[in-house]
Amino acid sequence: MDLIGSHITHRFGDLAVLDDVSFTVSAGEVVAIVGPSGCGKSTLLSILGGLLQPTSGAPELRGSPPADSLNPLTFVFQDFALLPWATVEENVEFPLLHTQLSAAQRRALVDDALRRTGLTDFRKTYPKQLSGGMRQRVGISRALVVKPAILLMDEPLSALDSQTRELLMEDFVRLLADGGMGAVYVTHNLEEAARLADRIVVLSRRPGRIREVVTVPMTRAARSEAASREKLLALQNQIWSLIRNEAIDAEREVQHA
């Protein structure tokens, strides 16, 4: 199943946020969206996932999702969006409650998702008892349980400290390794984009337009090798040079607002 953003334009009142953004995420592909702050990255993701109605243009799907997918387009949120009154396993089971699955089937799916994120021992704990990194693992577990075709990840690591970020980044690389699941990964962190994405969509400052689409010329497995480090760094610098001046302007704009 492919996800297509087709001429997406969005305004919040008088404020133009996105201007004619079009791109395609093919099945199994990981696309990062980067750009200066306030360029509409998160807005674009909400629109792609059907949580926000664009002013014009539309998100579209092509092809059918995998037969066992319960929610083909699944979000992972920046602030985790966990139910504070529910335990880890209840949070992970939450998206299954309204489905036709039996309790035993739900239980099996939850067990599997918890195991894949290393949360099995924490199933009875409440979100407030967990560190930020573990909370986001619950968020990821909840996304995996519905077997998504495409993960929509909205700055999933930006609320975490740098060490936790590193650990979760390794988890993401592992989860997306087999190419069975695609992802749209919104981030302001160019290193995350370069490590995870097959292609990087670079947006301009507000109103966000596509400035460039950069293809990362190596497999994700190869990127963890020492030899690739320089190439990745060069790629990050290339993208940064595209964004830098706009980021400066965007920052001034925010300060004057």
């Binding site: 699944t74 979000f75 969006a81 139910l83 309204h98 409440y126």
Partner: protein, 274 residues
């Protein structure tokens, strides 16, 4: 080198003094027995003042006289007669007002039409002291229990509706969007996200409506009732039976405390995740 060694030696000769601790206070912790000891002390002084004739018992009877009055009320059966009459009015009125308030509060929290209509009416009617409506309600409903119960229900209803819709409004939107992103149907979102999210505000509202109900039952009973704590207190005042009067007041206080305990217990049971 020599110079430096000398300065170091000089420095070492200076007196060492500790950094003064200045981070004390501003974290009041209530001690477990402090409150009870203070209460016992006040009662003891009150009792002593009465016993040595410092206070006229007609105006302020000593605690022992109040206790005796409560005891006599209890064995004569009058206590139960008054308390049960009041409890029935509070219970029925509070339940009706709460049920209606929760329903209307959720409607206002979830529907645009209900919000625009509901908030206007609530803003207009909430400030009216509900006891002022009792004469009207007596005209409408007769002189039985109904107008008293209706007065309590009205008072409870407005407070409940307001705390419920504020609670619904306070449920984080990101949790609702999360649920929608998994195609969770409306009814399940209300049941599994909005209801538990609004529950803290709803329970906090219960504390307010419990005291509103108590206030209104006493007021309504003072205006027109044969039985009930309010009627009893008023009657005792008219007859200058201050020990009886204060017995009624003590019973009201105990009732208020008990309700507070029940709500506190509900909060620890239902909101343990906070």
């Amino acid at each position: 080198m020599l110079d430096r060694a000398a300065t170091e030696a000089a420095a070492k000769n200076e007196a060492i003094r500790p950094v003064r601790f200045r981070g004390a206070g501003f974290v009041p912790a209530s001690s477990r027995f402090g409150g009870w000891i203070a209460l016992a002390l006040v009662i003891a002084i009150w009792q002593a003042a009465g016993s040595i004739g410092l206070v006229n018992p007609l105006f302020l009877p000593p605690p022992s006289a109040i206790a005796r009055a409560i005891y006599q009320l209890a064995i004569s059966g009058a206590l139960w007669q008054h308390v049960s009459a009041s409890l029935l009015r509070i219970g029925v009125g509070w339940l009706l007002g709460t049920a209606a308030g929760i329903a209307v509060g959720f409607a206002i929290g979830l529907s645009r039409l209900a919000r625009s209509v509901g908030i206007t009416f609530i803003s207009a009617l909430f400030p009216i002291p509900k006891i002022a409506l009792l004469p009207l309600l007596i005209l409408w409903l007769g002189i039985g229990e109904e107008p008293k119960i209706a007065t309590i229900a009205l008072g409870v209803f407005f407070s409940t509706a307001i705390s419920v819709y504020s609670g619904v409004d306070a449920v984080p939107r990101n949790l609702i969007r999360m649920a929608q992103s998994f195609n969770v149907p409306f009814a399940t979102i209300v049941r599994k996200v909005i209801w538990p999210g609004a529950l803290p505000a709803i329970l906090a509202g219960f504390r307010i409506t419990a005291s509103v109900a108590l206030l209104l039952v006493v007021s309504a009973e003072m205006i027109g009732a044969q039985y009930g704590i309010g009627a009893f207190v008023l009657q005792a005042g008219n007859l200058m039976q201050t020990d009886q009067l204060l017995a009624g007041v003590v019973i009201l206080s105990v009732f208020g405390l008990a309700v507070g305990k029940v709500i506190g217990w509900l909060e620890t049971r239902l909101l343990h995740w906070r």
